[in-house]
Structure formats: C-alpha cells, structure tokens
C-alpha cells in the first residue's frame, strides 16, 4: 500500500491494512518492552548478583546499581578478594514480558498469601460488581435525564448549568464524604463511580439527543404524531445507536474511576490485589493485574461493539470505519 493512500483524512482502510495495522498497535509497544527487557545493551542500569564473592552484604538475586557494583568489583580486585559477579538487569519494577506472562498464569493459580486474602479471580469479580452497579445506577438516572434534557430545552436549562458545574468537581474528592454517609464497604466505592460517570453521562447524552435530525421530527409530525409520542416513537429510536456508542465510552470512563473508588474505605477488589502484590514487590503480578483490567475493558467493549452491529443493522454512521 502506497504511503500517500495511508495518510488521507477520513479515508477508510482496506481490510488487510486494517488487520495489519491493528496487530501492529499491540506489537509495537510489546516489541519495545521486549527490546528493553531482553537486550542487555539497552538500558539495564542495574546488576543482578549471581555470586556475591567476598562482599558480605550482597545476596544472590540482589539488585545493585551498576556504578556501585563496579566500585565493589574494583575494591575487591584491588584488595585481592574474590570480586562479586552478576548480570545486567533492569530495576525490579520493570519485569520482562515473559515474567509478566508467567505471572498472568500463576497469579490465578496461586492461593492468597494471607488467610483472609483473596484469589485474583475473586478480586476481579468484586471489582466487576462495583463497576457494574456504579454504571447501572448512573445509567438508570443519567440516560433518561440526558434524553429529556436533549429533547426539552427548558429541562436542559434547569439541569445543565448545575451539572456543568458539578462535573468539574473531581469524583475522588467526595471519597471521605461518601465513607461518612455510606460506610466503609462497597457503598462509597459505587458512589464514586456514579459521581464520576453520571454528570458526564447526562451532558453527553443530552448532546447526542440534540444532534437528532429535526427533519425526522417534522416528518413524524406531518404524519399525525402527537408531541408526547415523539419522544418514544422518534427521538429514542433515532438516537439509539449513538446513545449505545456513548454508553460504551462511558463504561470505559467508569473503569478509570475504579482504582480510586476501591482505595476508599477498605481497599478491595483488584486494587487490593495490586497494592498487596506491590507491597511484596511481586511486580510481575502487578503488571498482570493491570493488564487484566485492560483486557477486561477492551474485551467488553469489543463484545458490545459486536452486539451493537447486531442490534442496529440500519446504523450506517460508522460502518465504513468499523
């Protein structure tokens, strides 16, 4: 494919180019990570000790900054002692892709380290429930309110100035308040996700509703539609595909509030797992858990996109880019 045809504004790609470029979007960052991890000449600012030699404070497997290691080697050889030996290594917080991949498997099969601890799957399931309820509660009020605000200007004027103000308040700022009101368990966590999602939701969905082609409303009116039928007969079905897309974006939004929400009150869910693993310096597990969130998010979104194409076969707006 010629370069000129790849860089044209809004030009759809051929199916093959779409596949290749899509795969590259994951291959490129992972490739970069592999280079940094597996090629000793790139970065590797530390040395992992394989033989402490005569240096009493070193253990096998310990990480040491390269210049500190070099000076230990120099000292030892100067004094005729056995020099320590080691291999170039990256800091412990950057495990290699292979280690993370292994941790991906083992973190699911490893029992919790403490008696009251949770398996990774349990933590994840708990997080999914928090997201689910936060998102559902927000949507139950936010979607109808957004549609109504979009449809009726008076209602928009009553709600939107306040909502505009409120959406600038960072949701985590309400953490302490929510704990005081809702206790320390799941209540405040769900509340933070609701606060983080709801206000954006109303505004986004109201905007989507306003983008409805007024000619469709006029056509419906000339067919004898009464104005209270307009909402259910025309407005809602007409915006449904766009509303569905908004809801997908907002679900992603809800996920971004998850970690903050789970730190509130008693730390729980995937956040608890991540902080625990980080405390024990099991960084491959940390990466595995973070990646798991990404996979879950992307997975749900892809499923929902697929479902959307089934639900709205008439929707052409994004068909050529999908």
């Amino acid at each position: 494919m010629a370069r000129s045809s790849l860089f044209q504004v809004l030009r759809p790609l051929s199916p093959r180019a779409k596949l290749v470029i899509g795969i590259l979007s994951f291959v490129l960052p992972v490739g970069l990570w592999s280079l940094v991890s597996y090629v000793p000449a790139i970065w590797h600012p530390q040395v992992m000790i394989t033989d402490p030699g005569s240096v009493s404070y070193l253990d096998v497997g310990a990480h040491l900054a390269r210049d500190a290691f070099d000076s230990e080697v120099a000292d030892a050889s100067h004094e005729g002692r056995a020099p320590p030996r080691g291999v170039p290594a990256n800091p412990i917080y950057l495990p290699s892709p292979g280690e993370v991949l292994k941790a991906f498997y083992t973190s699911f099969t490893t029992p919790p380290e403490t008696k009251d601890g949770q398996w990774l799957a349990q933590s994840l399931w708990h997080s999914i429930q928090i997201i689910f309820w936060g998102y559902v509660i927000s949507s139950l009020i936010g979607v109808p309110l957004g549609v109504l605000c979009g449809a009726y200007t008076a209602l928009a004027r009553v709600n939107e100035p306040f909502i505009e103000f409120f959406r600038y308040l960072p949701a985590p700022a309400f953490g302490a308040l929510m704990v005081a009101i809702l206790g320390i368990y799941d209540g405040p966590k769900i509340a933070i996700i609701v606060i983080g999602t709801f206000f954006q939701q109303v505004l986004i969905i109201a905007n989507t509703t306003r983008k409805l082609d007024p000619a469709l409303l006029e056509a419906a009116l000339t067919l004898g539609t009464r104005s209270r039928q307009l909402l259910t007969r025309v407005v809602v079905p007409a915006i449904l595909p766009d509303l569905y897309r908004d809801q997908r974006i907002l679900l992603g939004w809800a996920w971004t509030y998850l970690i903050v929400a789970e730190l509130i009150g008693t730390t729980s869910g995937i956040t608890w797992f991540i902080t625990q693993q980080a405390r024990f310096q099991h960084f491959p597990n940390v990466y595995a858990a973070i990646a798991m969130i990404g996979i879950l998010g992307l997975g749900t979104d892809m499923l929902l996109a697929l479902l959307g194409r089934r639900l709205f076969p008439w929707d052409r707006s994004l068909a050529k880019f999908a």
């Binding site: 000619a215 006029e218 000339t222 539609t225 009464r226 007409a238 709205f312 052409r316």
Partner: protein, 311 residues
C-alpha cells in the same frame, strides 16, 4: 420580448400563442376542476420573521384556493418564501396573520390531514420500508395487523412490495422518495404537500419520478401542492402554477397551464408549453434583475497565456 430557442430552431417572438390561450379540451378540464369543491383556502396570509430586532416580511397577502384533485405548483426565485408557505400549510410554522382553511376548517399545527414529502430524505432509518409506511397509521391508533395490511396494499399499488423488509439506507434516492410519498399517502390525507421532493435527484431519475407522481395522482383522490424551482417540472406537473416574487414573497400570477393532459415528455417542445415557460421566465427573471444577485459575478482578469484559448 425575446425569441424562444427550441431544439428545432427559433420561434420568433409573436408567433408563439399566448399562454392564456386554451384548447377546448383544456378549457373543459379547468371548468370541471373549478366545479369541484374547494379543499384548501389561503386568504390574506402574512408571515413575518423577527431576527436581531429586525422584522422581515417573508410572505405578503397570499390568497389562493385549490380544488379537490388539483395539482398546484408553486414556483418563484430563491428567497420568495415558497418553502415557508408550504411549511405554514403543513402546520410546521405559524403564520403571522390571515387564514389557512382546509375544507373550511382553520389549520393549527401539523396533522394527518396534510401529508408532506420533504426535499431531504426523511424516512425513519431504524424502520424497514413497510414499517415506515405503517408509521402514520400506527400513531393514529390503528391496530398493528390493519396497519400492516394497509401498508402492504400501498406498497403493492406503487410496485414497492419487494422492498417491504429493506432498510432505507439500502435504497437509492429516487426509491427513498417513492417510499416517502407512499408513507404520506397511507395516512389518506386530504392534501399532499411536496417541498422540492425531487430536488436532490439526478435528471433521469427526476423525470421518471415526475411521471410516476402523475400516475399516482391520476389514480388517487389527492390534491397536491408542489413546490419547485424547476420551471419545466412545474409546467409538466401542474394544473395551475402559483408564481411568487421575492422580498417580500407575494403572488405575481396564478397561471392556468394550457398544456393538455395526459402529459408526456414530448410536450416539452409544444407551443403551449413553451408559451407558459416564456411567461414564467418573464415573471421570475425580470424581477430578479434588480436584485443584488446580479453583481456577484464579475468579469475576471485573464490568468492564462494570451494564445491559450478554450473558445
């Protein structure tokens, strides 16, 4: 007045019959048309717009009436308010003063007794062709089975039954407008308002749609008010043509088209057709001379070599 240029040559001015001259058959048709009851009456209609504190008179003292099964076209230069007029008739816009009476009853707001076909495509994209046609019946409280049966009958009538389960985006522009016409007709309105419905179609499709519309109009008890800026289209379709002038929009003349029915494409070079067209051009373009539009096209300086000519 100018000479008329036709494909076969030139008809010198004066040899063309007057557009007021009607053959006996045409006169008889108009007599029977006017004997039918009046469907729509517009009297002393005014429309003003308020914008930035300024009041603009869009329509001034519009008076006309249409009889049952009449085909009325409204033409005029851009800005004459013909779209505003049809939107007022549909009830989509309010008039400032005057009366719009449908069978003697004043019109307020849109209603199923006045169907409308728009220039843009306004089929509901989430409904199949059949469900689009059912829409009007359903919102007016008919049972689902009845709506379905009637919709299918209408689709069969205009030969669209094959496309009953197809979504609008799968149809061509002409097909979309055919469905839009059927959707409006399924409600059995007294009057069908059409706001440049074929304006977005290519010339070939447009010609076929005009013939198709006349065929529908012949077979159904419907009165049509058809807005267009295409003079040939107006003459080809109309019984009478309402000519509006711009700024403010007011009636210049209500022309009785002397072209006999049934209409065919061949009539486009017939004397009554050309006479009517000459009159329309005179009315519409004569008024346009003093408008600002004329000054907007300057004579350009040459940007090519002096020997490099295209004509």
């Amino acid at each position: 007045m100018n000479d008329i240029v036709i494909p076969g040559g030139v008809i010198p001015d004066g040899l063309l019959p007057s557009y007021r001259e009607q053959s006996a058959a045409v006169r008889a048709r108009f007599d029977s048309l006017k004997a039918r009851e009046v469907i729509l009456t517009v009297s002393k209609l005014h429309k003003t717009f308020e914008s930035e504190g300024k009041t603009t008179l869009a329509l001034k003292d519009i008076n006309f009436s249409t009889h049952r099964r009449e085909f009325l076209c409204v033409v005029g230069p851009s800005g004459c308010g013909k779209s505003t007029l049809v939107r007022i008739l549909a009830g989509l816009e309010e008039h400032s003063s005057g009366d719009v009476l449908l069978q003697g009853q004043p019109v307020s707001g849109p209603g199923r007794d006045r169907g409308m076909v728009f220039q843009g495509y306004t089929l509901f994209p989430w409904l199949t062709v059949k469900k689009n046609v059912m829409f009007g019946l359903e919102v007016n409280g008919h049972g689902k089975l009845e709506c379905e049966r009637e919709a299918m009958q209408w689709l069969q009538l205009v030969g669209l039954e094959k496309f009953a389960d197809v979504y609008p985006h799968q149809l061509s522009g002409g097909m979309k407008q055919r469905v839009a016409i059927v959707r409006a007709l399924a409600n059995q309105p007294r009057i069908l308002l059409m706001d440049e419905p074929f304006g977005a179609l290519d010339a070939q499709t447009r010609a076929r749609m005009q013939a198709h519309l006349l065929e529908i109009w012949r077979k159904i008890d419907i009165t049509i008010v058809f807005i267009t800026h295409d003079l040939d289209e107006a003459i080809f379709l109309a019984d009478r043509i309402l000519v509006l002038s711009a700024h403010p929009g007011e009636i210049q003349e209500l022309i009785e088209v002397p072209v006999p029915r049934p209409r065919s494409v061949a009539q486009i070079v017939s004397a009554p057709f050309l006479a009517t067209k000459a009159r329309l051009e005179e009315l519409i373009y004569a008024g346009a001379h003093d408008s600002a539009e004329e000054e907007d096209y300057p004579i350009m300086g040459r940007m090519t070599h002096v020997t490099d000519n295209v004509e």
